[in-house]
Symmetry: C2
Subunit: 229 residues, 2 copies
């Protein structure tokens, strides 16, 4: 349930250049169901009942294109824009700099996870208000192995969670965490905040909330959206 | 490339009862594109250029239903049937008992991974001939955490592989491994074979080769099949 003592924010991180897609266009601009992925993602937060303020982190070189898309699609969801940095770490940090309140709870979300459900967003915000943070995750359906120096070894599948976004934090945790220097193992915000000394709370994500990384993911995302309408 | 010194087999494991689907019918019998999932899976191996002999492991209580499906769909791919056991471990073991050759290479495959590609099957067979075994796997796109006694901790995503099937072995490795007693961490064949003292080789799987576990996976599988035709 929304806590009126807090301001709610969503930082949507679209700074990346999408090295893995067979397309020239950064993947957050690819269309699914005739709308850029990034607009689906922004709408997921804009339509959420907590009405978070939206901060979009975009590569500076993509801003002009984004503005042309806003016009082309007559997309009028209010949002602020921050510029992306070299690493995802720098992009989140730049987005964070636009928040000046003390009692804020912030969902950091990948632009390329357009199918996040309203329930997942609620759970993450609510748990972050209670516990300081909440990271959407799903249990692994597959067995899991880890590469070791000698070869590889089985991990206990029951202990393994695949981490999604939103990764949601009270602002004080993010502010402290993002004062650290970048480290190469910072693949998500949870790793940054954990390194700053905070315990991480895992929340239930959803199977459809996958990251659009490979061309086949576009087919999946389209199919899911079509099945919803 | 096919090695003529070896006989090629596929053991397709469909013994399970599908506790996680909101359906009464075991999930391997659900239809995608108007054909039971299990028939898609069998066809993937039957159409492979190495023409593996197919052994299907079915719960004994499902055999009559399967035979009715064969008739209904006029499905005439030759295959032997073994009965499933209490655990996946027992099912594979029963399938293995139907192979009497010494120079065999055996792909064990989940019935509910119908979208496995011909390339993945080839890679696994070829590597197993060379190295003794080969396990299809994909790198994790998501950050990964492990539940610990104190809470949870980030793992190094670059080291994590999500394991698929086929898991492919020279028969001597499987025979030795399946003489062991069942243990609860045997979530796949690689864990069984590893416990018997063999090193495990990881091979490139594919993103579409996911396990149909949740109802939403049916939507994804249908979409992918439609995009192929």
């Amino acid at each position: 349930m929304q806590n009126k003592d807090y301001s709610y924010y969503a930082i949507i991180v679209a700074g990346g250049k999408g090295k893995r897609m067979n397309q020239d266009l950064p993947k957050q601009f690819l269309r699914i169901n005739h709308l850029p992925i990034l607009m689906h993602t922004i709408k997921a937060f804009h339509h959420h009942t907590y009405q978070p303020q939206i901060i979009l982190v975009l590569a500076e070189t993509d801003v002009a294109y984004w503005k042309s898309l806003l016009q082309q699609y007559q997309f009028d969801v209010p949002h602020q824009i921050a510029f992306g940095g070299d690493e995802r770490f720098d992009s989140v940090k730049n987005g964070l700099d636009l928040i000046h309140e003390e009692n804020a709870v912030v969902a950091v979300h990948d632009a390329v996870r357009p199918l996040v459900s309203s329930e997942t967003i609620s759970r993450c915000f609510d748990t972050a208000v209670l516990k300081g943070n909440a990271i959407a995750a799903v249990a692994s359906k597959d067995s899991v192995r880890r590469i070791t120096q000698k070869g590889n070894e089985a991990l206990n599948r029951a202990e393994i969670y695949l981490i999604q976004t939103p990764q949601t934090f009270q602002i004080n945790q993010l502010r402290k965490a993002y004062k650290q220097s970048f480290q190469s193992h910072f693949t998500d915000d949870a790793a940054v905040v954990e390194k700053a000394g905070f315990d991480i709370s895992i929340e239930k994500g959803d199977q459809f909330n996958f990251k659009i990384t490979f061309p086949e993911d576009l087919i999946l995302a389209e199919a899911i959206l079509k099945s919803r309408t």
